[in-house]
Subunit: 377 residues, 2 copies
Amino acid sequence: MAEDGTATKPRVTGGGVADGGGLLHGGDLDGARAAFPEAPEPWVDLSTGINPWPYPLPPVPPQAWTRLPGRAEEAALRTAAAACYGAPSAELVAAASGSQALIQLLPRLRPPGRVAVVEPTYAEHARCWRLAGHEVRGVDGADRAGAPAVDIPASDVLVLVNPNNPDGRLLPPERLLHLAQAQAARGGWLVVDEAFADMEPEQSVVRFAGRPGLVVLRSFGKFFGLAGLRLGIALAPAGLAAALRDAVGPWAVSGPGLSIATAALGDGDWIAGTRGRLDEAMARLRRLLSGAGLTVVGGTALFCLVEDRRAPGLYRALGEAGILVRRFEGRPDWLRFGLPGPEEAWQRLSVALDSRGAWEQGGDKVGTVQPSKKSAS
Amino acid sequence: MAEDGTATKPRVTGGGVADGGGLLHGGDLDGARAAFPEAPEPWVDLSTGINPWPYPLPPVPPQAWTRLPGRAEEAALRTAAAACYGAPSAELVAAASGSQALIQLLPRLRPPGRVAVVEPTYAEHARCWRLAGHEVRGVDGADRAGAPAVDIPASDVLVLVNPNNPDGRLLPPERLLHLAQAQAARGGWLVVDEAFADMEPEQSVVRFAGRPGLVVLRSFGKFFGLAGLRLGIALAPAGLAAALRDAVGPWAVSGPGLSIATAALGDGDWIAGTRGRLDEAMARLRRLLSGAGLTVVGGTALFCLVEDRRAPGLYRALGEAGILVRRFEGRPDWLRFGLPGPEEAWQRLSVALDSRGAWEQGGDKVGTVQPSKKSAS
């Protein structure tokens, strides 16, 4: 895929990767069990983009559970996040109980205005800006994002995910800085959701945090494999970071969450080792999918995107084998695969892909699993 | 103290128990260490209303950390909360990462209007309604709340804490139901913050949850002694509860938090035993304070309020002995004492109270510890 994403030409209209009734998040094993009651247990959940080899939990001091998190604990977390992600200062950092909370809060820190979301992408962005009263429209990522900044229609806020979910489209830092500058010139923001940027720190714009108009979001749980801990980080100019901290309110992140994340963000050896491990695992997954005759059109080290007209049949065949992948209501020809963890999960995926008879007849009809609002992303 | 609180006649003007610069929360050990650098370590923190004997942590399944919390886990928590608190249905329950988050959210679910807060009380209520654009005024709890409902001036929202913090003033359920009915009749709400109601379940209005206009808040961390876990519960008519869940957003409470709280809320034996233990401990604390010549004017089983003109001197003497209690900028004659936990903490408090020479000369000047926004409540 080209760096500007033109190779994938994704196009999902009407609010991004969503369906009419609710957002189609990954991780809905309950829904999958209901749809495939005969599937073997345990399920192999490849529907999320979460590292299957989590950061080993350090001991948590009992006071982290019993006391309200103090200013010192929160300051330590912000310092560790700034250092790990490469931000100039902990003053530019705001923490919340998940990046979802930040995605919900940001739209309330501006008066209603015009918002452009580069699509297709994680649909919560468009949904939350719209809910807060902004006028949201999608900008086609394939056609527009690669073009000069002046081509992106004037909006008060421009939102993009980089690298993008689900196609992995990646805009280089210099491109993003141009966009941020253009947004700042009109008193606006560029929001860069770097939920999947941990693998490629040189592509992150966090080191430029503090520049006017630039807002960066990071997700702790995906790369560190601790999605249940609930921690999201925003990096923004100091005034906006302070406003975000106020809007989040005191004690939003749990004491154990602060304690564990502060240790994890400071563990350079684990981070470096994990980057290598995930790279290898993703190369293996791509080989497995290609070997089954599937075309991988994009992704990151935590997920990859398959485009194939047989995708609905493949989704069903995998479901019957107890393997859940991510599909997209607006794009029945897409399936997103996360990384299997245990060797047994790899083997089950391999066997299911090998049983081509079960899915090669797949048509264009999307299966019947109901979308859900409350399952994993 | 009379049930309607008339015995205490507290009166704090200008936004409740706060100071000009920021809210004066408890738990600010960092600030205390800075103000009393010679104090012995470890500090005895009596400035919060948190049970010092926490619920023993059950084993947490690893997936609670690694996966996003699922719908089943959240539903289990809501069911356990409804059962423990005595609500008619889990549909009436919304959970957030701390009751502070709910206090921040509620004001955004109504158009700006007139809000009355029965004072003095936990100052975050008035602050958050005001921040969201509502017109807030304090209603004197001593003069007004004991009078018939028609005497409370017409407001779209009436907020009270029951039992109240810091004076323990308690309105009986029938009184609250009248108020809720009056609020509902004008399309308004009665918000009852039951953060300290776990000790007296018969005084709670949770069993009436679902009635129009009645919104009840519960705090998990105080009674269960796990304030760092971050869990607050709202109980409201089904439509409002659903709106609150939407406003909180998905995955706000951590996976381990859901897992531990679901177990704790269902542990009737521990809950009953803890009620007895806290009652005994509070009786001991009141005896200790009375024995030192101090007047306890109110409280709950988790804190008690001393009213004495020597309070500033006592605050300083306790600080020099490494014991932190809660004071109130608008009421220099008040100090709130939480429960000591370990026997050593009781002994240190006893010794400090016995050294009357150190504090009996105390004047009316409030000490110099700076208030902080981010420390414990």
